[in-house]
């Protein structure tokens, strides 16, 4: 009995166990374990849309977790696994959207906005400081107004 227990314990110590949502996913190295945990965080559950595969208790999330594990054991890369799920469930499953035509605005919109904002602020502040010298006509008008005012003040 003790031998069996010791064997079991040694098995656990040899492998890296990922515990995701109460399920055990054994890996033979820590790198794959970490990859699995990151993927389960970055992939989205299609059923319960504000949760990732790691958080969700939905049966479909469990299926997808198992599939990710299966593909990872087969030796597929993170990109291959993500593409596998995107091909079936759509871009929706990515919490980290790819840079592509329809996400262009998402990725670069904010940068463009900031650029426009800086341009607007700079042009407004520059425009404000620039004081143009008065023209001949304006000077004459000013002198006239000043004269009229001093006349009023001391009659």
């Amino acid at each position: 009995m003790k031998i069996i227990l010791a064997l079991c314990l040694s098995l656990f110590s040899l492998s890296s166990l990922a515990v995701v949502n109460g399920h055990l996913y054994p890996f033979d190295n820590d790198v794959d374990k970490k990859r699995f945990e990151v993927l389960a965080e970055e992939l989205r559950c299609p059923k319960c849309q504000n949760q990732n595969l790691a958080d969700s208790n939905a049966p479909v999330a469990a299926d997808l977790r198992d599939k990710v594990y299966e593909l990872m054991i087969e030796g597929q890369s993170d990109d291959e696994i993500t593409n596998y799920l995107v091909a079936r469930y759509g871009d929706f499953v990515r919490y980290n959207p790819a840079v592509q035509k329809n996400t262009f605005f998402l990725w670069f919109g904010p940068g463009v906005m900031v650029f426009i904002a800086i341009f607007v602020i700079v042009s407004i502040s520059r425009g404000g400081k620039k004081s143009q010298p008065l023209s001949e006509e304006e000077r004459a008008k000013l002198a006239e107004l000043k004269a009229a005012r001093s006349e009023k003040q001391d009659p």
């Binding site: 849309q49 599939k67 091909a87 079936r88 759509g90 871009d91 929706f92 426009i116 042009s123």
Partner: protein
């Protein structure tokens, strides 16, 4: 002239508001666009529920069909079942995928509530479901005579939904009149 630039922020705001506001109206949280539209039905080899027969994707050709993903554990499937019976009675070809379910329970269900399906594909582990991007039964795929998925509906089918798809479904490529034999396909290639 410079004053026109004062309106730039307002114009930007209006453009953004229209863009984002339009997005809010369009979003339907329950329905995800399927990447499988206009793609061939995924390959599979699975048993039929009602008989000892192996089925593959090539069984999903000929006459345009609805491929309906259902299960006995799914309450909405029960809700739409009567409507599927109605459609089948009108001559609409319906194929079932019994998704993550028990074959015996499925047979009892079909006996009790009627069987609108030409045949049922048994998918106890949900493998075909995963290939199809199924995330909640019932889901219905509109497949044309070439075995190409042309549309997908998530949720129950009813008269209102059917009215939306009916015309499109009737226009799908139909090869039921002349079943594809080797000769026929060769002729088409030439």
């Amino acid at each position: 002239m410079k004053r026109i630039f004062l309106f730039v922020p307002l114009i930007l705001f209006v453009v953004m508001a229209a863009f984002l506001g339009g997005g809010i109206g369009r979003e339907n949280k329950d329905v995800l666009p399927s990447p499988l539209i206009d793609k061939p039905f995924p390959q599979f080899i699975l048993q039929q529920v009602e008989a000892e027969k192996q089925l593959t994707q090539s069984d999903l050709q000929g006459k345009p069909m609805l491929v309906n993903v259902w299960a006995t554990w799914c309450p909405t499937c029960k809700a739409e079942h009567e409507f599927l019976n109605t459609l089948a009675a009108q001559g609409v070809r319906i194929i079932g995928i019994n998704y993550k379910d028990d074959d015996e329970e499925a047979k009892v269900w079909l006996r009790d509530y009627g069987n609108p399906y030409e045949f049922n594909i048994s998918d106890p582990k949900g493998k075909l479901g995963l290939e199809l991007g199924v995330y909640g039964a019932p889901e219905t795929f509109f497949v044309d005579g070439d075995g190409i998925i042309r549309a997908k509906h998530v949720g129950d089918l009813n008269q209102r939904i059917w009215d939306k798809y009916k015309t499109k479904f009737e226009q799908l490529a139909d090869h039921s009149a002349a079943p594809l034999t080797d000769n026929a396909s060769e002729m088409e290639v030439k």
